[in-house]
């Protein structure tokens, strides 16, 4: 099982949001897939899958997120 967290390169200080998940909960993803777009201070960044497997989304789009926050798991 691999945790998917918000990297500091995307959100260092304060809060941002996952503007959109590009994969659905329960879908199979591959390492390197762009899983989501994260918006911070009007800039958009890409959240990349660190591993392959089944995606479990823990934080839905449009909910505030912070650095290092656990937002999904890949099993």
């Amino acid at each position: 099982m691999t945790d998917v967290r918000i990297p500091a390169e995307i959100i260092d200080e304060g809060e941002g949001v996952i503007s959109v998940w590009l994969f659905r909960d329960g879908e199979t993803v591959a390492a390197g897939d762009v899983l989501a777009e994260v918006m911070n201070e009007k800039a958009v960044a890409e959240l990349v899958a660190p591993a392959s497997g089944q995606l479990t989304i823990l934080v839905s789009a449009e909910v505030p997120v912070k650095k290092d926050q656990l937002v999904a798991r890949i099993t």
Partner: protein
Amino acid sequence: MNVSASTSRVADAKHTESTAQGVDAVPRRRLTIAKAISEALTQEMDRDPRVLVMGEDIGRLGGVFGTTQGLLARFGPERVRDTPISETAFIGAAVGLAAAGMRPVVELMFVDFFGVCMDAIYNLAAKQSYFSGGRVACPMVLMTSVGGGYGDAGQHSQCLYASFAHLPGLKVVIPSNSHDAKGLMIAAIRDPNPVVFMYHKALQGMGWLGTVQRSIVPVSDSDYVVPIGKATTVREGRDVTVVSWGLGVHQAVECADILMKEGIDVEVLDLRTLAPLDRDAILQSVQKTGRIVVVDDDYRSCGLAAEIIASVCESGRVALRAPPCRVTFPDIPVPFAPQMERPLLPSAVKLAEAVRAQFVSQP
């Protein structure tokens, strides 16, 4: 009625280059419509130095609806121009640039704002080629957001498909997914005549507007074209044709899923282009099913839905088994209050009710 579950396909299956089940060795790239439009613009600007982009907040911000992400950094302020809030000026300028041999793409942030710049669009751009005997082309793209559903009231929520599709000399396209968005934008830029490229806010992938997940599909990084004027069948069915475009495609697919459980087999057409209308594709489908329902989130009267139904009726090629039906927004301004706006918009549930009524025997 015919009952068939086996012909059903998901909306995006048609467009996926790599929908293999299980873990793929190669990453599969999915884009939002916003990103797909940005990528189409980037690739065309790389390919053709005559392509440039102008509009409000399309530079530093990358577009209020994300259509120009990364362009300013890559191409600089000469080719990616943030304009003052004067559609009259910059859309008029685009017509002149196009006549002089450039290929401008201009963004009208909300289609609702067309009033102040319409002369440049329908009297100048649309008629340029015709008036000059084909000697002066007008290769410009007007991209603009359409649609409501998020409480932005009567001047930021309209669709106005018919207002543009009505006018000779304008082509009008609207994608329902990111694959088509990229291919239609490339086709629009390469077209020698003005193309109105509409994108629906509810499909844009910008988060704050909500996004229909089915609009996010795999997108090739090649510079492919989706031909203007060609509809596509996103779901085959035997009993009834639902004609749709933009957001309506997703409501139609959801409606088809609901009705499949009730034994009604719905065929869903995605027009992709509103002008010129692919009447052959519509007729072909309705000849098979004998029933037609059109979903149109524009105002009801004198709308595209009416044009589609009239085209079927006057063709003389179809014996309809039920009166044709349209599911539309009513003839009133879009309300601000969500509890007033929501019930007025088309939905999968409303569409399913309309389709069911096609199977109630007529007196």
